[in-house]
């Protein structure tokens, strides 16, 4: 349930709590751990219309999420957070991507119009794979 883990760990707030509830079930997924067991990466996922960004840490096949206020902008800088990839969009776009409703063309279009901002595109493809792993089936 959203926020249950937040109540246990009051460090994460806002959007990060949602990300946490979506991703941390992967920690019980053996196939995920097999596939990403050697991965050590940190993503910063900022919801431009909200107040907190989510720092997604994937380490040895385990996912954890932290939050950071997204204002002032300096809070989100690579030097401060140490991210390997950065992704910023509004939550509506995020949901569209998370629910597989935005094609790569759609993502590109939003990127060109600066509705999506990204750094570390190669690493972001990994994040995309992680989200796709949530359903992990062929249709």
């Amino acid at each position: 349930m959203i926020g249950k883990s937040n109540q246990e760990n009051k460090k994460i707030r806002g959007f990060a709590v949602l990300i946490n509830s979506i991703l941390t079930p992967l920690n019980k997924n053996k196939k995920f751990q097999e596939k990403f067991g050697n991965l050590n990466v940190k993503f910063l996922l900022n919801a431009s219309n909200l107040n907190h960004a989510a720092i997604i840490i994937v380490e040895k096949g385990m996912v954890s999420v932290e939050s950071i206020p997204n204002k002032p902008k300096e809070n989100l800088k690579k030097q401060k957070v140490g991210w390997n990839a950065f992704l910023e969009m509004d939550t509506q776009t995020f949901l569209a991507i998370a629910m597989n409703r935005l094609s790569l063309f759609g993502v590109a279009k939003k990127w060109l119009t600066r509705k999506i901002r990204m750094r570390g595109i190669i690493k972001l493809l990994i994040l995309l794979k992680i989200f796709r792993f949530l359903t992990n089936y062929n249709s």
Partner: protein, 524 residues
């Protein structure tokens, strides 16, 4: 506006002291309803959730009292509107010169015929009440998608009545047997076998003589536009599984002992063509208790009891064309057979069941499925939803309508006036072993925001126009003169015949025609 004192007294003499009230507090409360703001806006009125205010509200307790009230209404040319539990704008009076008959005191289960599989009920018996009683005999009834708290009589006689269990229990129109009907002029007509001169009974809905069921309710019901139904016999069905219904824990997160021999399938068919084929295959095998295409957002919703718990299930949002099938059986053999059929379907179409693999619902889902409580989950996202007028036709046409509607919906989603379900919001279910289907497009809006109400109304109008432009099958929910006159010319001018029925049975237009059809050139 209130009734004149002497007229009020005449009504009071029928029902007794305390069973009629014309105080503005009482009448204003009855003027309120869900989605009234949308319909008001569509008629060029202020988008508020209040309709015309009736002059009085009256509570009859017997058919004889209902008859006397109707006769009196004819005498004084006061329009009457009957309601049971009262959910929905179709319960509202369309004129001020009206009284509402709240049938709450008519709440008896008259008869349960276990052998012949029917129950005779009065208007204020709710679906859950009926089900809880017939379960004791191992039986079940159809409950409309609006939920177990509404009236099966109202649904059977006066509404469409699709339900989540329609694959196994049909829809309300198909479940009507004999009926006791107070006509708009006050005559009492017994339809079906209850009208037999000798040994009248309730088991059959047609005759004596020509069946009048088509006139009585037709396709979509008359919503109190053609008199008042005081008793109905509804079909009963074998309860699909063990009748042990053990809900544990506490609200709002109950737990439930899932009966033996129940299994849920949620399969992503990937595209509409495949979905159509899978659904037809499943339905032709006549094994499902529930079989619905729900948009992925709706799948998330039926497994959730709050918007927060819905967002927890984003992984389910990736489903492109999900089919939800619930099988239930009373014996291990039956269950084994149904599972084999489903396994065959899964293999044939190379699809997987995600339940137990990617997602396992809380057990309470099964209780809600058995008690037909799933439709109410449509409200959890924004607090308000309404469906487009829907389509009833083949699976292909239903899905074509869904597809066409997506772009229209997305236009309004972009404006931020309806909630973003990517335009896909759909509920589609089958009837009579896949011989036909209905779809509707539940759309979430916020009834507290005027912009959302207006946007929703405009979307619904555009969606209606789309059905005409693209010839998208028979509309499922059609009510009111404007809609009948819009669709009628495209559908063999049925509206002309509907009007003739109205004019014949209700020449004085005393039965509120707001959600039925008005007589030619006559206003209430």
């Amino acid at each position: 506006m209130v009734l004149e004192k002497d007229i009020f007294k005449e009504f009071e003499d029928i029902v007794g002291l305390g069973n009629i009230d014309d105080n503005e507090v009482i009448t204003n409360v009855y003027a309120y309803n869900w989605c009234m703001e949308i319909f008001n806006y569509m008629e060029g009125k202020e988008p508020i959730p209040f309709s015309n205010v009736p002059k009085a509200v009256i509570l009859p307790s017997t058919t004889e009292e209902v008859q006397k009230i109707v006769i009196l209404c004819n005498k004084y040319e006061i329009v009457f509107k009957a309601q049971s539990t009262g959910l929905g704008p179709w319960n509202q009076p369309s004129v001020d010169n009206s009284i509402i008959l709240d049938l709450r005191r008519m709440n008896r289960i008259i008869k349960i015929d276990e052998k012949n599989l029917y129950a005779v009920i009065e208007p204020y018996v709710s679906g859950a009440q009926l089900q809880s009683e017939i379960m004791k005999n191992g039986l079940n009834c159809h409950m409309p998608g609006a939920g177990p708290q509404v009236s099966p009589l109202a649904s059977a006689t006066s509404m469409n009545g699709p339900g989540f269990t329609s694959p196994s229990t049909g829809y309300s129109a198909r479940n009507v047997l004999a009926v006791e009907w107070v006509l708009p002029n006050g005559e009492i007509l017994s339809l079906g076998s209850s009208g037999l001169k000798s040994n009248p009974d309730w088991f059959h809905g047609d005759g004596p003589g020509p069946s009048l069921r088509g006139i009585m309710r037709g396709w979509a019901g008359t919503k109190s536009g053609l008199g008042i139904f005081t008793k109905v016999a509804v079909k009963l069905f074998p309860y699909p599984c063990s009748t042990e219904f053990n809900v544990k824990g506490s609200s709002a997160n109950y737990d439930f002992n899932i009966p033996d021999f129940m299994k849920l399938y949620v399969m992503d068919c990937g595209n509409f063509k495949k979905l159509e084929n899978v659904m037809l295959n499943v339905e032709e095998e006549e094994i499902s208790f529930m079989c619905s295409y729900l948009s992925s957002f709706a799948v998330m919703a039926i497994f959730s009891n709050s918007i927060e718990s819905l967002m927890d299930k984003i992984s389910l949002g990736q489903l492109k064309a999900p089919l939800v099938v619930l099988i239930a059986a009373r014996t291990e053999q039956e269950f084994g057979y149904k599972q084999k059929v489903m396994d065959f379907v899964l293999k044939k179409f190379k699809i997987k069941n995600i339940i137990g693999e990617i997602y396992t619902p809380n057990p309470i889902f099964f209780a809600e499925a058995l008690r037909s409580n799933l439709g109410l989950h449509g409200f959890i996202a924004t607090g308000g939803f309404q469906s487009s007028k829907g389509v009833a036709d083949t699976a292909a046409v239903c899905l074509r309508s869904t597809k066409s509607n997506i772009l229209v919906k997305q236009e309004f989603i972009k404006k931020g006036v309806i909630a973003n379900d990517f335009g896909e919001g759909t509920w589609m279910t089958s009837y009579e072993s896949g011989h036909y289907f209905h779809m509707e497009s539940p759309t979430m809006f916020d009834q507290t925001k005027v912009s959302s109400v207006k946007g929703m109304a405009e979307y619904m109008e555009k969606s209606n126009q789309l059905d005409l432009l693209k010839h998208l099958g028979a509309p499922f929910f059609v009510e009111g003169t404007r809609m009948h006159e819009l669709f009628g010319p495209y559908m063999s001018n049925y509206h002309i015949w509907l009007r003739k029925i109205k004019e014949t049975f209700d020449p004085n237009n005393i039965s509120d025609s707001g959600f039925y059809i008005s007589p030619q050139n006559k206003q209430n």
